[in-house]
């Protein structure tokens, strides 16, 4: 199916989903917010992989291929993306996106929370990778390393 939508639709949807969980539904429980965002990503990854098995995996749904793939041959893989789309804009200037909104969102502009949000987005991506791999029969744990933003590494540990 060749249907397309504007990229801003996907970007805005993800931004708002993260903001809803972090600022409204679980404002004081970041770990709960993170698990819900991860669960949403998982469903997306699972379904994407069901629909198009082997055509794409998580990060390429963010419109590009990964930059590097490493493995220790003992079940750990590292996927590196040198400029991760879904965090690059936010992490460079976390406050600008929410800067001039009405009061409903004033808390989203709060700096400490805004700084958390790129990490919250990563729970979505980790969930996508996990869901896609689970659908292919691979049980794994996925974490993200953002110590060198906007580069981002996803560490996939295959469960024996």
């Amino acid at each position: 199916m060749g249907r397309e939508v504007s990229e801003s639709c996907v970007d805005s949807l993800l931004t708002e989903m993260v903001s809803m969980y972090c600022n409204r539904l679980y404002a004081n429980k970041p770990e709960l917010a993170a698990s819900r965002i991860d669960a949403i990503g998982y469903q997306v990854g699972h379904q994407l992989s069901e629909r198009s098995s082997a055509r794409t995996s998580g990060p390429s749904s963010s419109k590009k291929q990964i930059d590097n793939l490493k493995t220790n041959h003992r079940g750990t893989f590292v996927l590196q993306d040198n400029r991760f789309r879904w965090v690059s804009r936010m992490s460079l200037d976390p406050s600008s996106e929410n800067g001039d909104l009405s009061q409903e969102n004033s808390e989203a502009a709060d700096e400490s929370k805004a700084a958390q949000e790129p990490n919250m987005h990563l729970h979505f991506s980790c969930g996508v990778i996990k869901g896609a791999l689970h659908n292919l029969g691979i049980a794994c744990a996925v974490s993200a390393d953002t110590s060198q933003l906007p580069a981002c590494s996803f560490v996939v540990r295959i469960k024996p």
Binding site: M1, R3, V5, S6, C9, V10, L13, Q43
Partner: protein
């Protein structure tokens, strides 16, 4: 100098960055499903979807105005047409139509026959009362508020409830004069 005319919806859509709609549709579906799990009341899910849409709308309007070259609409009628023909096209790649105007031109329906949000979606019976596409009404409400039009939006028809199209009724409540946004109420 003659103004640069507005661009057609197709031309704008051809020039924006686009992605496969599947990712968008599946992500939205996953969000709705997760909200249904996390919130007890369907009514609360409707509210959160609307709020998400509103927050998106108040930001998307800037991108829309910047890319569409639309100048100030003369009235609500023109505004509704612009949303249907250009707004929906630019973001979702589909065109809507405007019908059912009331006599004083303050209430109309935006009808959507094709809607990427609901591709592969079927609602189970347990979701009675859910307005699956409530994010869309929020987007329209938020965007209109940023151009000084306070509206109330409700769903008249919903294909997920067996109707033959999606129909959003848009009622103009108040048009705030734009010149003095910070003036006290009179």
């Amino acid at each position: 100098m003659p103004p640069v005319g507005p661009r057609s919806g197709d031309a704008i859509f051809a020039n924006v960055e686009r992605v496969n709609a599947e990712l968008f549709t599946l992500t939205y579906g996953a969000i709705v499903r997760q909200l249904l799990t996390d919130l007890e009341e369907v009514e609360e899910v409707n509210k959160q979807l609307d709020q998400m849409g509103y927050n998106i709308g108040i930001r998307l309007i800037d991108e829309f105005l910047a890319k569409s070259n639309v100048s100030r609409c003369v009235d609500f009628k023109e505004t509704a047409e612009v949303i249907a023909k250009m707004g929906f096209k630019m973001f979702l790649g589909v065109t809507a139509s405007v019908t059912n105007w009331d006599a004083d031109g303050t209430c109309c329906s935006i009808v959507l026959e094709d809607n990427p949000l609901v591709d592969f979606v079927e609602l189970p019976d347990t979701c009675q009362g859910l307005y699956y596409c409530n994010i869309l009404s929020g987007v329209v409400r938020g965007a209109l508020e940023m151009v000084s039009m306070k509206t109330e939006i409700s769903w008249i028809r919903d294909m997920l409830r067996g109707d033959d199209a999606f129909e959003l009724q848009v009622k103009l409540l108040k048009q705030v004069p734009e010149e003095y946004p910070y003036k006290d109420d009179e």
